[in-house]
C-alpha cells in the first residue's frame, strides 16, 4: 500500500471502473460514490428485509452501519456488491446504476470493491498467502508485485510471516484478519466491511478499525457494518442504523441509541 504512505490526497485507482470501454458519467468525480434511492429487498413476499432505503455516501467518507441482528446490514452490503439484486429502487456506484449491470460487467464492479464477509469466506485448504493473493491474481498482476503487496497487507493486519500456514489452522480472529487483508490488498475505491472485528478482542478491533481509517485517509470510502457499540462509541464517524428496513442517520451518541425491541427476550 505504497499510496497510503506517501500522501493523504485522494488516489487514482489502478484499474478501470466497470468494463473496459464503458465510460462513467462525466461528472463522476464530483458525484457521490454511492447513492441508494428507495432500495427495497423482499426475501419473503410479505416481510421485506429492506423497504425504501435512501443513503448517500460521499467519496472518502467513513460510515458505520449498525442495526440489530437480522436488521439487514449484510443484505444492504450484498446489494452493493451485486450478490443480490434490488427488488425496487436504484443503487448508483460512481453514477452507474448497479441494478442495470449485465452479468459480464459485474466482475468489473467487484474489482473496485474490497469486501470483508461476515463469514470470512476464506478457503480453508489454501495457505494464508494464497487466500490474499487470489484478489490480485484476478487482476492479472505480475507474480513479483503480488508477493510484495500480499506481504505488506499481511503485515498491516498483524499476520506478517504467517503467509505459508494453512488457513484452516488459524484461530477465528486470525482468519478474520486474513479476510481483511484480502479486502484491502487491491486498494479498492470502496471497502465494504461486514462485521470485520466480530472475532477480535477489543485491542485488535481498534487496531483493525484504525487500519481502515488509515486507508480511508488515502481517499478510500469505507462502509463498516458492526454492532460493537463500544467500537462505534470510540470514534466520531457518521453512523447509519438500519431499523425496520430503513436507513436512519443516528449521528453518534449512544444515548440516542434506538431500542432493538429484543430486550423483551431477557424478560
Amino acid at each position: 500500500m505504497a499510496s497510503g504512505t506517501d500522501s493523504g490526497a485522494p488516489v487514482v485507482r489502478p484499474f478501470p471502473f466497470f468494463r473496459a470501454g464503458v465510460r462513467t458519467s462525466p461528472d463522476a468525480g464530483t458525484r457521490p460514490i454511492l447513492e441508494l434511492k428507495g432500495v427495497s429487498k423482499y426475501f419473503q413476499r410479505d416481510t421485506p428485509t429492506l423497504r425504501g432505503v435512501d443513503l448517500t455516501v460521499q467519496r472518502g467518507e467513513f460510515v458505520f452501519v449498525t442495526g440489530a441482528s437480522g436488521a439487514g446490514k449484510s443484505t444492504l452490503l450484498s446489494l452493493i456488491y451485486r450478490k443480490h439484486t434490488v427488488d425496487d429502487g436504484h443503487i448508483f456506484f460512481c453514477g452507474k446504476d448497479i441494478a442495470r449491470l449485465t452479468s459480464r460487467s459485474i466482475p468489473f464492479l467487484r474489482r473496485n470493491l474490497g469486501v470483508v464477509f461476515q463469514d470470512f469466506k476464506v478457503i480453508s485448504h489454501w495457505t494464508v498467502f494464497e487466500n490474499v493473493a487470489v484478489a490480485l491474481e484476478i487482476l492479472a498482476m505480475p507474480r513479483r508485485l503480488v508477493r510484495a503487496r500480499v506481504a505488506e497487507a499481511l503485515e498491516r493486519v498483524g499476520l506478517s510471516g504467517r503467509g505459508g500456514e494453512t488457513t484452516e489452522n488459524l484461530s477465528g480472529g486470525e482468519q478474520q484478519r486474513v479476510a481483511v487483508a484480502r479486502a484491502i490488498v487491491t486498494e479498492p475505491a470502496l471497502i465494504l466491511a461486514d462485521e470485520p472485528t466480530g472475532n477480535l478482542d477489543s485491542h485488535l478491533a481498534i487496531d483493525i478499525l484504525t487500519l481502515f481509517e488509515e486507508i480511508n485517509e488515502t481517499g478510500t470510502t469505507v462502509l463498516f457494518a458492526t454492532h460493537d457499540h463500544s467500537l462505534i462509541a470510540k470514534r466520531d464517524h457518521r453512523l447509519v442504523s438500519i431499523e425496520d428496513g430503513r436507513a436512519v442517520e443516528a449521528r453518534r451518541g449512544l444515548s440516542s441509541w434506538p431500542g432493538s425491541g429484543l430486550h423483551a427476550l431477557v424478560g
Partner: protein
Amino acid sequence: MDWKSAFTRARRGLREERRLYLVAVSSLSVAFLCLAVALLFMQNLGALGERWGQSNHLSVYLADNASDTDVAQLRVVLEALPEVEQVQSVSSEQARAEFIAQSTMGEELSTLPADVFPASLEIEVASGTPVQRLESLSQRLGSFGSVAEVETYSSFFERLHSLLSAGRGLAMGLALLVSLCVLAVVGNTIRLAVARRTREIEVMKLCGATDSFVRRPFVLEGAFQGSMSAFLALLLLSAAFLVLRERADDMLTALMGMRLLFLSPLAMLGLLFGGALAGAVGSALSLRRYLVV
C-alpha cells in the same frame, strides 16, 4: 488471455485433488476402454468385410463335351472383358484333388472318380464391379455351348455381407452408446470435482473474477483428465491386444482369414483428442451452474 495463471491454478487443482482425479481417471479409462474395444471391433469387421465380401469370384463350369479349342476361345473372350482380372482353368483332376484336400472326410472320398468333378474356369473380377454387371456377365456366359453352369456365389456373399453389416451395425451402435456414456461420465466426474470447489469459485467470483478466469483451469483439468484416461485406455488395450495375439493369433487367423488389426494411428489420435475435447466440454458445461454468484 492469462493462460499462464490458469495453468498454475490447474496444476494446483490437480495436485490438491490428486486422489479425486486419480479415481476419476480410473473410471473414465474403463469407459474409454469400452469405446476403444468397440472401435477395434469395427475396424476388424470392416477389414474382414473388405477381404471377404469383395472377392468377386466367378466359377464357369464347363460342359463335359467341351473341346479344348472351345475352352481356349472362351478364355480369350473372357480375358478381353474389362472387368475380368484373371482367368484360371481348373481341370477335373485338379478339382478333385482340391476337393479332397479341403474335405475333412478326405480319405473316405479318395475313391471318387475324377469325372465327378467338372472342369472349370475360375475368374477373378475387378473389385468394385457392381453386382448387376456380374449377373449379366454370368447370363451371357451361360449361353455359350461349352458352358454347363456359371456360379456367381452371390447367395453366399449376400449372406456373408448381411452378417458382416449386422456385426458392423452392432459395433457402431455400441460405439455410439459408449461415446454418450463417456460424455456423461466425464461431465459427472467433473461436476463432482467442481462441486467440491464451489467455495473457491464463489470466493473468486466475489473478488471480481470473470467467468472465463474461473472456468479456464477447470477446462484445462478436464481436458487433461480426458486425454489421460484415453491414453491409459489405449495402453491397456494394446497390452491386452499383444497378449491376445501371442496366445490366440493362429486360431483367430484361421477363423478370420487375416491377422487381427490394431487401431489405426488416426483412430488413436482421435481418441486422445476426443477425450481431451470431451473433458473440456464436459467440464465447461458442468461449471455453468456454479458460476452464478
